[in-house]
Assembly symmetry: C2
Homo-oligomer: 313 residues x 2
C-alpha cells in the first residue's frame, strides 16, 4: 500500500460476509498495513478507543457501520449506539453519524454516509485551495488526512488540492506527540501523494515561523462549537497562538458533520484525558488528547459549503 492513495474502503468498510467491520489498523502504520476485523460492537468500540481507527470523520463512519453491524446481529440498537458514542468523548462526529443512522441502520445507508463524507472532503479541499498562493509552505498538525476522514482528507485534502493546482511548495509536518500521527500517518500520506514535506518536532514550529518559513497553518477539527471555537489534537491551540504572533494565517478545514451547534462555545467541549503511559511509563504524566482554539485565533474555517472567515479577532 506504500505509494498509492488509499481508497475509502481500504480505511474502513462493512462486509456482509461475517458480518463484520474491517478497518486498516492505523496504530501499525507506516511499518505495516494490517487490517483489523471487528465482528461485534464491543470489538469496534475497543478499536475506536485504542485508536486502530481515529480522526473525527473516520470514527463517525466506523460508528455508522457499527450500527449496521448491531442490527445485522439482532442486537439492541440503543445499547450499541450508547457504547459507540461513548468510545471517545471529544469528536462530535460519533454522535452525528449515529443520529443519522437511527432511522435506517443498514449497510447501504452507512456506505452512503461514508461516500458523502469523502465527497464533503473533496468539496472543502477545493474551497480551501483558493486560500493558497503559488509557492505556499504550509504547516499541518496531527493527521487530518484520508485516514482520519475515511478518504481524501480534510486538511491534507486541502494540501492535495493545492498541490494539484500548483500552489503548494512544501509541507511542514508536526510529528504530533505522543502518538506521532504526523510522522507516522501524515508523512506517509504526503509521500504517497508526492508532496514535498519534512517532519519537525512540534516545538520547532515557532522558530520556523519566526524564520519566515511558514506561510499558513492548516489543521482539521474534532469538534467546532457554535461560536467557532475548535477542539482539535493537543498542540493545535499552541500553533494558533504562535501563528497569530507571527501573523501567519491559521485555517481549519472540516466537514459540517464536525460542527456541533448544540455546544455554544469551546468551554463546553469535553476534552479526552488519555493515559500518561502514552508519554512515559516511568514517571507521572498528564495527557490531554485535545485542546480548544478560540475562534478569534482562526483566520478561516473551511467546510464543504465554502470558506467562512473569522468574524472578529
Amino acid at each position: 500500500m506504500g505509494r498509492r492513495h488509499l481508497e475509502p474502503e481500504d480505511i474502513v468498510r462493512y462486509e456482509e460476509d461475517g458480518p463484520k467491520v474491517v478497518l486498516l489498523d492505523q496504530r501499525r502504520l507506516p511499518d505495516q498495513a494490517v487490517e483489523l476485523e471487528c465482528s461485534t460492537v464491543p470489538e469496534l468500540v475497543t478499536a475506536i478507543r485504542e485508536l486502530a481507527i481515529r480522526g473525527a470523520p473516520a470514527i463517525g463512519v466506523a460508528a455508522a457501520y457499527g450500527l449496521a453491524l448491531a442490527r445485522a446481529r439482532g442486537e439492541d440498537l440503543d445499547a450499541a449506539a450508547s457504547a459507540l458514542a461513548a468510545a471517545r468523548p471529544t469528536a462530535v462526529n460519533l454522535a452525528w453519524a449515529l443520529a443519522e443512522m437511527r432511522d435506517e441502520p443498514t449497510p447501504g445507508h452507512a456506505r452512503r454516509l461514508h461516500a458523502e463524507e469523502v465527497e464533503r472532503c473533496r468539496a472543502m479541499a477545493a474551497h480551501a485551495a483558493e486560500l493558497f498562493v503559488p509557492g505556499t509552505r504550509a504547516l499541518t498538525h496531527c493527521n487530518a488526512g484520508g485516514l482520519a476522514t475515511g478518504g481524501y482528507g480534510s486538511a491534507v485534502g486541502a494540501l492535495r488540492a493545492a498541490w494539484e493546482r500548483g500552489l503548494l511548495a512544501h509541507v511542514w509536518v508536526d510529528e504530533t506527540r505522543p502518538l506521532l500521527q504526523g510522522s507516522r500517518l501524515t508523512a506517509w500520506e504526503l509521500e504517497a501523494a508526492g508532496i514535498p514535506n519534512a517532519v519537525i518536532a512540534d516545538s520547532a514550529a515557532a522558530s520556523l515561523m519566526a524564520a519566515g518559513e511558514v506561510d499558513c497553518v492548516v489543521t482539521g477539527a474534532d469538534r467546532i462549537a457554535a461560536n467557532g471555537d475548535t477542539a482539535n489534537k493537543i498542540g493545535t491551540y499552541a500553533l494558533a497562538v504562535l501563528a497569530a504572533h507571527h501573523e501567519v494565517p491559521f485555517y481549519v478545514v472540516a466537514p459540517t458533520s464536525t460542527i456541533d451547534s448544540a455546544t455554544p462555545t469551546g468551554a463546553e467541549i469535553p476534552i479526552e484525558e488519555r493515559s500518561g503511559d502514552e508519554l512515559t511509563t516511568r514517571f507521572p504524566a498528564r495527557n490531554p488528547a485535545f485542546d480548544v482554539t478560540p475562534a478569534s485565533l482562526i483566520t478561516a474555517i473551511v467546510t464543504e459549503h465554502g470558506v467562512r472567515e473569522s468574524v472578529s479577532p
Copy 2:
C-alpha cells in the same frame, strides 16, 4: 542511583589513573546509570557530540577536563581545544571553559572550574527562588538540572531552592522532543528531590497556560547574547511566546559562563541542526536543536549575580 541527588563527580570527573574523563552516560538514563570512560580527546568529543553528556555548563566542565587529559597525554593543546570547541556549536560554555583552561590546563584547575560552576548554580538558584510565591506551579523545558550543569542545576536548581523554601507546589515537565531530556532526565531529578511533577507533551503547555495552571516558566540557556536574546533547547521560544500571550512570567536561569558578550544579538548565535533520524528514520525531517528567544519575551534572566529584569518589552 535512583532516589539520591547526584554529586558533581557522579556527573563528570577526571581520574589521574588512566588518565581518563569519566562521565555518567545520560543517553541511557533513567533506565540505566552507566559510566562512560574517555581516555582520549576524540573519545570525549564523540561523547559530547552524541550527547552522552549535554547541557551547556556540563559540556564546558567536560571540555575543561578534556584539556587536562590532552596535556597529561602530551597532546597538542591547540588541536585538542579546537576539537572540543567544535563538538557542538550553540553553547558558548565550551569556548568559555577552554579559554579559562589555557593558562593552566591541569586537573586541579578543571576541578576548581567545576566546583565554581556548581557554586554558581547554588547562588543563582537562591536568587531565582525569590521570584516564587507560595503555591507556585512552574513549567520547565528540557533538562537544566544537575546533569546539565555538572551539579545542582540552573532552572532545576531554582526549582529545588523554591521547593526547599516551601514556595513550589508542582512542576510541569515538558518531555522535550526529540530526545526526551524532560521525561528522561528532569523527571528523574525531580523525583529524586521529592518535588511533585508531571510530564506533559511539549504541545500541551499552551492549554495548561490557558487553564491557569502555570504560574511561571523556568528554563536554562545554552547561550545568551549581549542584548539578552537567549538560545536554548528547541521549543523554548514557543514557550516564551505562549507565556507572553497568557501573561505568565518567563524566567531564564543560567550562569554568567553562558553569557557571550561577543555575540551582539540572537541572530548571530549558530543553531545546531541535528540529524532528522532523531525524529523519524522513515521520512524526511528537519531537526534544529535550539531556538532563540528574544530578550523582549524574557521577564528576567537570573545569574549567580542576581535577577536582571528585562529592560523593555
